[in-house]
């Protein structure tokens, strides 16, 4: 029974990773950059919900909505101010280091506003827990909501990309920016839209993450952010189903490592997996091979 219980918590954590990884993978696919600040957008989303629900006492739905709106705006702003000017920079390191700077900036702004103390986040989920097998197996409401919303969001995203013009434009831009521009696609607009969607997903992920693990401080987002990147690489960066599979697998691996090996070593094991994947199959499970051109 405990195995099943771990599997379920793994699925729940994995769904959160998958949501974050979706944002990473979309941004990476289009802008070809690792958005280091993505993890901190999660934290900002969680703090927004915390402020609205716990401090102002408004209903959870308002908190989640505010988090999504604020993070979307934040994502677009970050892209416009910090990343867009460097899109044609000579060195690929430039935008990477700027992204690290943005991540650091968000953390420290949150630190100045909310302080270092860890806040207790009140769960926004009001679904009752389900007990199975005579109460030996408990599935919390948070787990159910997390897994369901992750699946719904991923399906929605895939339909959006396949069926809408904006989604097709995203595919075209990630394929070839120059050619997409010649076809009359607004490249800057498409990239901004990608950042907006990615950041909105990050906000949802932040609220779900803090509902399941109710401790919130300015560094809450950075570790899950990095792990979600590992998940994105695991599944094959640039691929949406890949991010989903990678996220779920990583969540399960992490929970099992915590349960059966050592709770201290869980992070180290997750990172060791990243190194192994990159050595054996750098394109990930569903990634495509990209040839380097001279």
């Amino acid at each position: 029974m405990s195995f099943l219980q771990y599997l379920i918590s793994g699925l729940s954590l994995g769904s959160v990773y998958a949501l974050i990884a979706l944002g990473y993978t979309m941004v990476y696919g289009i802008a070809k950059m690792l958005n280091f600040a993505h993890g901190d957008v999660i934290m900002i989303g969680a703090f927004t919900t915390y402020t609205i629900c716990s401090a102002l006492g408004l209903p959870p739905a308002a908190g989640v909505l505010a988090a999504v709106v604020l993070c979307t705006l934040l994502g677009v702003c970050i892209e416009k101010v910090a990343y867009k000017p460097l899109r044609k920079a000579a060195s690929p390191l430039a935008v990477l280091i700027t992204a690290i700077g943005v991540s650091y900036l968000l953390q420290n702004v949150a630190l100045l506003i909310f302080g270092t103390n860890t806040k207790a986040f009140t769960s926004v989920v009001s679904v009752n827990a389900v007990r199975l097998a005579d109460g030996q197996l408990t599935i919390t409401g948070e787990t159910i909501v997390t897994i369901v919303s992750c699946i719904v969001i991923m399906a929605g995203l895939m339909i959006f990309i396949r069926k809408t013009k904006a989604g097709q434009a995203m595919l075209a831009v990630s394929e070839d920016k120059g050619a997409a521009q010649l076809m009359g696609i607004n490249v800057n607009g498409t990239i901004a839209l990608t950042f907006a969607i990615g950041s909105a997903l990050a906000a949802v992920a932040g609220v779900l993450l803090c509902s399941a693990y109710p401790s919130l401080n300015p560094y809450t987002g950075s570790m899950p952010g990095i792990k979600a990147f590992v998940a994105a690489v695991f599944g094959g960066i640039g691929s949406i189903p890949g991010a989903f599979i990678g996220g779920i697998l990583l969540g399960i691996i992490e929970i099992f490592a915590k349960a059966y090996i050592s709770s201290q070593m869980a992070d180290a094991i997750v990172f060791a997996i990243l190194i192994v994947i990159l050595l054996i199959k750098p394109t990930g499970i569903l990634g495509r091979n990209i040839q380097e051109k001279v």
């Binding site: 900036l105 953390q107 001279v294």
Partner: protein
Amino acid sequence: MKALKVKMKSDKNLRSNLITFGMVIGVYIIMQVLLAAGVVSSLVRGLLVPLCTYAILAVSLNLTVGILGELSLGHAGFMCIGAFTSAFFSKCMQEAIPIAALRFTIAILIGALCAGLMGLLIGIPVLRLKGDYLAIVTLAFGEIAKNVINMLYIGVDEAGLHFSTKSSLELNLSENGTVIIQGAQGITGTPNDSSFTVGIVLLLITLFVILNLIHSRDGRAIMAIRDNTIAAESIGIPITKYKLMAFSVSAAFAGMAGVLYAHNLSTLSATPKNFGYNMSIMILVFVVLGGIGNIRGSVIAAVVLTLLPELLRGLNDYRMLIYAVVLIAMMLFNWAPACIQWREKMVYRLKSRKKLTKEAE
């Protein structure tokens, strides 16, 4: 004629190197005079060794970021390895080697060697990757190094070394045995061998080795790889060899900085604050502010950015915020094509204005 040109170029390098060395030695002499005069506050006195540590770290990271052109976010991890191996050695050998100078020299060599070896081991698989992937893997390495050290227990008695990953009780030491590494509590009672003079000497050695490496044939090969990997490969430069060389040299000097750091404290523990991701970022900020690829700049930036927030106490809360803004602003200013264009325009205008005033005269 050609030989003369080569000679002139090497003279230019030599002069630049000498200015860097002179700067460090000059600061050292001024500080010594001030220390002798007793006008240095205890706050600044306590900062002297960390300043040298940060300068060495910044210079060594600049070798990876500026010369090799790869972003490493695990520099603090190598520093951590150097710090712990050397502190372990010093603690074990405290009685066996009573001469502090000899013991410390060996400790420095051990720390640098272990970190360099680790750099080589990590580098062999990891340097096949580049850009974002390399950054994230080095970050992962730094976290793994910190995690592993935090759960490591090592004790020593007559029977030799005992290892455990659970607690100091599980080491099964005899009565005379002592615990050396106590998991998350780290190592206590490391001999306090670091001093400002040692720090400056180590900084000079670092500068000497790295500056000479950059201006040697090997250094030019490394820079060729940075500028165009495929072109460098096509003219027969062994990519892996030179990448590994730069990466492990950089790691070794980070380890050396770790030795200096460890022997300046009585308690050494691997917390996120001193060996974590934040430390790696701080070193990166020094490198970026000093100028990527500019060794002298790294030293100056490390000193200025460490002293400034300490001297302006009120700024201490905003220290990290300032670092973040500096990082973003410097990158935008130096690398954004629009910014570069604007700067060129400004320089052109200034020049033409000078010309006009000259003509008017």
